[in-house]
């Protein structure tokens, strides 16, 4: 029974796994209204996590932590099949490090480089038996799939802003379908949804500053520092700096007094 792995699970099948790499796939349900590219990153991270969990006999699982560089290249669409790839560079009971990518029809949609995820006891989030059973079905190609019904648009309120700075309040829902899956024993806001909200914040700041289109499509040094519970109210700040002619946006996300996320966004000029 893998009913847990429905609303926020983005690996349908594991095609191959070896000591240093894992390949898999995920079909975005055709009926969803959209699929933020950050969720393709979630899919790559989940694939890497299956590798780590398998290697530790489902005793530990990695959490989202550090990503040195992310390139948001494409915009996957409902109905697309994501080809997922991850290379594991290190795995210990404390952390796993990996890089990976997702492709659609051979075209890259997202690249993750230098990811480091702290390993935590898997039982804190789900039952080992449930994880093991799901893994076996992913390997056999027999997992129940297609349960993703989309995610609600972030409940964001843009606060006072200027050409160089934009703030926002992000209200994490008290209840949402994805909390049932992320995670059954400890619901927390998925880090990739926080990144999606960051992308919207940066887009709003760039819209004020630049008449020409700039797209927030590259992230450096993203770090998720703490779990964000359902119902949390997050304060987000984006500060624009210009290095040469290139804009760089530092983003910091706070929950109460604590910084829970930070990243540096490096927008790219969109081609006409």
């Amino acid at each position: 029974m893998d009913s847990n792995f429905r609303t926020f699970s983005f690996v349908d099948q594991i095609d191959s796994i070896s000591s240093g790499s894992i390949r898999g796939r995920y079909r975005i349900p055709a009926g969803v209204s959209g699929f933020p590219v950050a969720l393709a990153g979630e899919a790559v991270g989940q694939l890497a996590a299956w590798h780590a969990m398998c290697q530790t006999h489902f005793e530990f699982r990695p959490m989202a932590g550090i990503v040195t560089k992310v390139q948001l290249v494409g915009d996957p669409q409902p109905g697309d099949v994501l080809d997922l790839q991850a290379e594991i560079s290190d795995l210990s009971p404390q952390a796993m490090s990996y890089s990976g990518r997702a492709l659609v029809n051979g075209d890259i949609v997202i690249v993750l480089e230098g990811c480091v995820g702290p390993m935590l006891p898997a039982e804190q989030f789900d039952s080992r038996e449930s994880l093991h059973a799901r893994y076996d079905k992913l390997i056999e190609g027999a997992a129940v799939t297609g349960g993703f019904e989309g995610v609600p648009e972030p409940d964001m309120e843009f606060l006072t802003g200027s050409e160089m700075r934009q703030e926002a309040q992000l209200k994490v829902p008290q209840t949402a379908a994805y909390f049932n899956d992320h995670f059954p024993r400890m619901p927390v806001l998925p880090g990739t949804l926080q990144l999606h909200a960051q992308q919207l914040l940066v887009r709003e700041l760039l819209r004020r500053r630049h008449p020409e289109p700039w797209a927030p499509r590259e992230i450096a040094n993203s770090k998720l520092r703490a779990f964000v519970p359902p119902g949390a109210s997050l304060h987000m700040e984006a500060s624009l700096h210009v290095h040469g002619s290139e804009p760089v946006v530092d983003v910091r996300v706070r929950h109460e007094a604590r910084t829970v996320g930070s990243a540096q966004w490096r927008p790219l000029r969109e081609l006409p």
Binding site: I66, A95, G114, V116, N221, K223, L224, R225
Partner: protein, 137 residues
């Protein structure tokens, strides 16, 4: 083999740069004796980040808990600590090992889990040099 101050000085600028990047702070704040936790605000995820950057930059492997293991040296675990608190011998060994840390930062009694609060950028210079020496032919 202990690292020489000259060796430490040689790699300090790069280690300081990586520390500043990991903590997203101005490199001017990264002085040799600044505590990463108490003075620079580092959290556990930052140590993970810093170690990852050091491993890539210097092509070394830094196992989790390596600094404490190295500090303990040839003392047995029982000689080094008792129920999570450093013994007198353990504390003296730690003070000698972390010679870059100002003496007033060592507490008495001192718990093992508090050891990371002592770490400075120079501490990480020394662990990099030790790991390099460990794999040198």
């Amino acid at each position: 083999m202990d690292s020489t101050q000259e060796q430490i000085n040689t790699i300090f600028p790069k280690v300081a740069e990586l520390t500043a990047d990991a903590l997203a702070i101005d490199i001017a704040r990264v002085t040799p004796t600044a505590s990463l936790i108490d003075d620079l605000g580092a959290e556990s995820i930052d140590f993970l980040d810093l170690v990852f950057r050091l491993e890539r930059e210097f092509n070394v492997k830094i196992p989790h808990g390596q600094i404490t293991v190295d500090a303990r040296g040839d003392l047995s675990v029982a000689e080094f600590e008792e129920k999570g608190v450093l013994t007198d011998a353990g504390l003296e060994r730690l003070k000698a090992f972390l010679s870059e840390v100002p003496a007033e930062r060592f507490k008495t009694p001192m718990r093992v889990v508090e050891i990371p609060k002592l770490f400075t950028t120079e501490t990480f210079c020394k662990v990099v040099l030790r790991q390099q020496q460990a794999v040198a032919p």
